[in-house]
Amino acid sequence: MAGLRVLLRKELLESWRTYRLPVVAGLFLFVGLSSPLLAKYLPEILKAAGGDQFGTISIPTPTAADAVDQLWKNLAQFGAFAAIILAMGAVAGEKDRGTAAFILSKTASRGGFLGAKVVAIATVLALSTSLAVVVAWVYTAILFGPPSIAGWVAMGLLAWVGLGAWAAITFLGSTVTGSTAAAAGIGFMALLVLSIVGAIPSVAPYTPGGLAGPAIALATGASVDVGDVIVPLASTMSLIAIALGAAAWSFRRQEM
């Protein structure tokens, strides 16, 4: 991992200077702001928009659980897109521009080169997810009363791991194909396929989508079996490890 520290600093500076960090953080900030507001006011918006069409249909009074539900859905969708976009050019872009050869003609190891990118992407996702969760918690507290801090922290961590899976798969695509577009295609395809497969109840706990149930339960203070958290968490982390391991294996054999 020679050069990791120096390259990590470069990656984080690049995230800031090329507006990746501000843009992704801004997107997550919007998700954090809008989710509790949407949960709170959606029934009123529907009533106002639908007029008499709803007739006697009664819309349940929104609760903090609706805010959590809304936040998770938005993080899973917009966050996954952001994770794929962050990772798609990570290696392919540098190879294409020729800057990977510049770095690797120094004493930086290939592991250090990839490691710095992985840590930088994970950091951007962690900061952005934290921002979304903190802002959403504050708005939920204002609109519905203060929810469990520990539960929300756990939800934030699970969301971060889930987003890491999409980033890791896309990162693998970026490393193996050397094409930003192909990497994005692989990321979105994985998102689609695993979402479809995750709809099968017996398979769901083994996919990143399986994190949703325990994450939402933890944030709303519902009781959760340890196994309900461990299985999807271990599966998702294994998926991340396999994708990153395969990326490292492939990159070590590539010509610059």
């Binding site: 050869a101 004493t107 190891s109 010509e255 610059m256």
Partner: protein
């Protein structure tokens, strides 16, 4: 400095499997420490691939390269600590400033952040980029990027500099400055550079290697190669108004056994001979017999270009 700074032993690179393109073919080469080594060859000869194998950016299909006795392995970056590399088409992070990039290169070569910043300022000034050091690289011209490439290669004070076409994007002034810089560095570092500009090689190199189709055609001290391979040349400048006689002379020269080549130029004829002894006594009588009056007659010192063209089989 003594011994070989770089050794290539049967270095081979084939792209695309066993039936693919053989870019470098069993290259055996030793570059003595402290020398300025010019790597020449036509396009596609394998110069860039050879340099990438030496720097560990590519993996050899067979054979090995060593730097100061240490085998180069793309998976072991430690051996690159003593190398400064300039790529053929240097492309860097457009969002960085020149100073940041050079400091990054220094840190990646083992300097501390403070040392790297200090050295960056020095080398940027040396390559004429002091005024642009704090501007984003995205706004640099091609020549400025080339100078920046030189600066990042020099920042850690490497004992081996590998420069792939270092003057390709430079204006005449930049080229002159770079050649002066290379000449200045020759006491402190071994320098290998590839180029198409043969005049530059003649100006600053002590040794030359000529590659063609991935094979080393010849290698050695420049003077030795010129003496060994360059055919003697004679320049004949006739007085004006003798076009028919000069054409007759050219035809007669071409039919002479010990004359290898006759090239017609604006001022007259360049005659390449295969036997200098015969030429020194036999050339002028042919001119006289052809009735051509000469304004100038000169034996020309053969150039590296003549050697190059002869060895790679591209002679006119």
């Amino acid at each position: 400095m003594s011994g070989a700074a770089v050794s290539c032993d049967g270095l081979t690179k084939r792209f695309g499997g066993s039936s693919g393109v053989l870019a470098v073919d069993r290259l055996d080469l030793e570059v003595p420490a402290g020398s300025v080594f010019g790597l020449l060859g036509p396009n596609g000869a394998g110069k860039t691939t050879t340099l990438r194998l030496i720097t560990g950016l590519a993996t050899p299909t067979a054979g090995q390269a060593t730097i100061d006795g240490t085998r180069i392995d793309p998976r072991d970056p430690g051996a690159r600590r003593a190398i400064g590399v300039l790529d053929q088409e240097p492309r860097y992070y457009s969002w960085m400033t020149g100073r940041e990039l050079v400091a990054l290169a220094g840190q990646l070569q083992g300097l501390t952040a403070t040392e790297a910043r200090a050295r960056a300022g020095t080398v940027l000034e040396r390559v004429g980029l002091a005024d642009a050091a704090d501007r984003r690289i995205g706004g640099y011209s091609g020549g400025m990027r080339q100078r920046l490439g030189i600066a990042q290669a020099l920042v850690s004070g490497p004992s081996l500099l590998i420069l792939d076409e270092p003057v390709s994007s430079l204006d005449p002034e930049g080229r002159r400055d770079l050649l002066a810089l290379i000449a200045e560095l020759r006491e402190r570092a071994t320098i290998i550079f590839s180029t198409h500009v043969l005049a530059d090689v003649e100006r600053i190199c002590d040794r030359v290697g000529i590659l063609d189709h991935g094979r080393l055609v010849t290698e050695g001290p420049l003077d030795e190669l010129l003496a060994r391979y360059a055919l003697p040349l004679y320049r004949l400048d006739p007085e004006p108004g003798q076009d028919a006689a000069v054409a007759g002379l050219a035809a007669r020269l071409r039919s002479t056994e010990w004359i290898d080549r006759v090239t017609e130029t604006e001022s007259g004829l360049i005659v390449s001979v295969s036997d200098a002894t015969l030429a020194s006594s036999g050339l002028l009588p042919i001119v006289v017999a052809a009735g051509v009056r000469l304004a100038a007659y000169e034996r020309v010192r053969p150039s590296l270009e003549d050697v190059f063209l002869r060895l790679v089989g591209r002679a006119a």
